[in-house]
Symmetry: none
Subunit: 193 residues, 4 copies
DNA sequence: CATGAATGAGCCTTCATTCAT
DNA sequence: AATGAATGAAGGCTCATTCAT
C-alpha cells in the first residue's frame, strides 16, 4: 500500500492536481501551487493540503517515472552480461531525464521533500551501484569510477543535451551519443604492451 | 581601447557595481539589481544605467574569466601536440566553470545580452573547433564528435560536478576525473585485430 | 441579479475600496491602486483582486451615476414634448458631468474596461439618439445634428465649465448657461421670409 | 525685442530643443525634459537651463501659434461687420486648438509658467472681449454672454472634437460644425411677436 | 555654459501562504 | 475536507531633478 487511503473525492482531487501539474511540467512551466489550483479548478488550500510545496508536487509528478526506472534497474540485474546491463540501465536513465522535464530537478536535488522520493532515488542508486560493481568485478569498467559518480554523470549528460538543444527527437539521439562517448571512456584502458 | 571612456566617478561606480556583483555571485546569490545597488551604496537607477538587466551584469562579471579562457585557447593552438592542446584547453574550461559561478549560466545561455559576450563565446568556440579539428586530423579523436558538442559537454561536466557536490577543492578534482573519463571516450576506438 | 454573489467579507472590502476611491475622486486625486489599498486599510493584492486596473475602479465608481442617468433617459422618453424631453435629458447629463469627477474621463474614453460600463454608455447613447431623432422628426432641432455629436458636445460643455472654474454651485449654473446657449443653436433656423 | 540676446551656440541649442519638443507634441507624446534632451542630442541640464519645466517648454512651443492668433485678433478688429469679425476670430481659434496639440493644455491652464504666455493669452482674451462687446452693442449676440465665457467655450469645442475623434481633416470639419452650432446659439433670440 | 551620471522616491505588480467561511 | 479571499513583503522599473566635472 503506497498511499494512505483517501476519501473518494479527495482522491479525485489529488489526481486532478497531479495531472494538471504534469501538463505544466510538460509545457516547461514552473510549478506554482496557486496556478495549479486555478487550472485544476480547485481551491488553493486544497492543493496546499495535498502538497505542501511545489517541490512535493514535482516529486509526485516525477514518481511514476522514477518507479519505472527502478523497475528497469531490477530487470537489468537479471542480465548475465554485466556491461550490457549497466549500459542498458544508464541508457534508460538518460533517456528518461531528457524526455521528462520533471526528472532533472528531482535527480539533481540533494535533499528531497517526500520520503517516497528518497526511497526511489535510493533504490535507483542502489541498482546503479550493484550494476557498476558487477561490471567492475568483470573488468568491464575502470576501477576508479565510484558509484557516487553515476547519478552526477547522468545529470551532466542530461544537462549537456539541454544546452545542445534541438527537437525532442534530436535530444534523445544526442543523449545516446553523449552517453556512448562517456561509456567508452568508462571502459578500462587496455594494457599498453 | 575596448570600452568607451567613462568619467572618473562613473568608472568608480561601475567598478563598485561589478565588484559587488562578483561577491554575490561567489556567494551563490542570484543577482538582483536593486540588491546590488543597496549593497554597493548606490542609487538603483545608477545600477540600471550601467546594466540594463541582471544578465548584462552577470555577463560583465563573467567577462574577465572568459577572456582568460580565450587567451588560453590562443596559446593552446601553439602546442604542437594536437591531443595535448585539446586536453589542456578543455581542462581549463572545465576548471573555470566549476571555479567561477558566473560562468555556467553564461556558457549555457543560447542568447547573450552583451555583444562582448557573444564575441568572447564565439572566440572560445572557434578555438575549441580548431583544436578539435586538428586532433581529429591527427586521428587523436573519434570522427563522430562535432565541434558543436564541445560546449554542451563542458557544461554537462560542470553540472555533474555541481550535482556531485563537495568542497571547492573536491570539485576541481572531480571535474578533472570526469573530464578525463570523457576524454578517454573521445579517443578513436583502436582497431580490434 | 447583476453581480456574482460575493462572500460577506469580500463584499465588505469591495465596498470599502469603492468608497475610498470615491473619496479620492471627489478630492480630484488620480486613482492609484496602492494608494487606495493603503487608505482603505487593505492589502494591495486585495484591491488588485477586485479591480485589475485603476480604470476598472474608476468605472465602478462612476457606475451608479451612469445608471441614474440611464434611468432618467428612460423617463425622458415618456415625455410627450420631444424638445423638452431632449433638453431635460441633456441637462441632467451635463449636471452629472460637472458634479461628479468620475464621469468626464469615463465618458470621454473611447474604450471601456468593464462590460458593464460599455453597456451603460450604450444605453445612454441610445436614449440620446432616440430623443434626438424624435426632436428632429418634430422639427425641433436642426437636421444636420448627428446622434454621434451628442456625447462629444456634452463632454465639451463639461470641459468648458471646468476651464471656466468657480465653486461647485457656480459650475452648475455655468453648465446650464452653456447648455442653454448650445441648445439654442441646435434649434432649426427659422425660414428667413 | 522678445528674448534676451543669447550666445550663438546657446541660441542654436534653444532652437533644437524647441524643434524637438514640437515634433514630440505633434506626435502626441507628453513632453519629458530628459527625453527631449536625448532626442535633441543635448545634455539634460542644458534643456533644464533653457526650460525649467515641461510646461515652460510647452508654452514656448505654443507661443508662435498664440502670436498668430493674437495677430489675427488685431486684424479682426478692423472688420466693419462686428458679427463676421467675431465669427472669423473664433473660427481661427478653434481651428488652431484642434490643429495644434500644444494649444489645448496651454489654453485650459489657469496659471501660466512664462510671462510671455500670460501676455499672449491676455492679448487674445482682450481681442475676444472687444469683438464680443462690439457684437453685443450691435445686437448681434445675446446680452447674457460674458467675455469670460469665450475661452472656456472654445476649449470646450476643442475638447468635444477630440472626443468625437476622426482624422485631422475630419476634426477641422467637426470643429466648424460645432462652432457654427454654438454661434447660432449665441445670436440674440428674435422677439417672439 | 554644457554635460550626463547619480539620485531615490514612488509606482506597479506578483506570489507564497494563511485563515475565515 | 474544501474553498478562495486576503495578505503584504518583495521585486521590478521609471522619471524629474540635482550636481560634480
Amino acid at each position: 500500500m503506497t498511499t494512505t487511503q483517501l476519501r473518494k473525492d479527495a482522491a479525485r482531487n489529488w489526481e486532478r492536481i497531479v495531472a494538471t501539474a504534469r501538463d505544466l511540467v510538460d509545457q516547461g512551466t514552473a510549478l506554482q501551487l496557486n496556478d495549479v489550483a486555478r487550472r485544476a479548478g480547485l481551491g488553493v488550500a486544497t492543493v496546499y493540503r495535498h502538497f505542501a510545496t511545489p517541490e512535493a508536487l514535482l516529486e509526485t509528478v516525477a514518481a511514476p517515472c522514477l518507479e519505472a526506472l527502478a523497475a528497469h534497474g531490477e530487470q537489468a540485474l537479471a542480465d548475465t552480461d554485466p556491461w550490457r546491463a549497466l549500459e542498458s540501465f544508464l541508457s534508460r536513465v538518460v533517456e528518461a531525464q531528457v524526455t521528462d522535464a520533471a526528472l532533472p530537478p528531482v535527480a539533481a536535488a540533494t535533499t528531497d521533500t517526500l520520503p517516497r522520493t528518497t526511497e526511489l532515488k535510493r533504490s535507483l542508486a542502489s541498482a546503479g551501484t550493484t550494476l557498476l560493481e558487477r561490471a567492475r568485478d568483470a573488468r568491464a569498467v575502470r576501477p576508479d569510477l565510484a558509484a557516487a559518480d553515476l547519478v552526477p554523470l547522468m545529470c551532466g549528460i542530461a544537462h549537456a543535451v539541454t544546452v545542445h538543444g534541438g527537437t525532442p527527437t534530436d535530444r534523445i539521439d544526442t543523449a545516446h551519443r553523449y552517453l556512448a562517448t562517456l561509456l567508452e571512456g568508462m571502459r578500462p584502458t587496455p594494457p599498453t604492451t
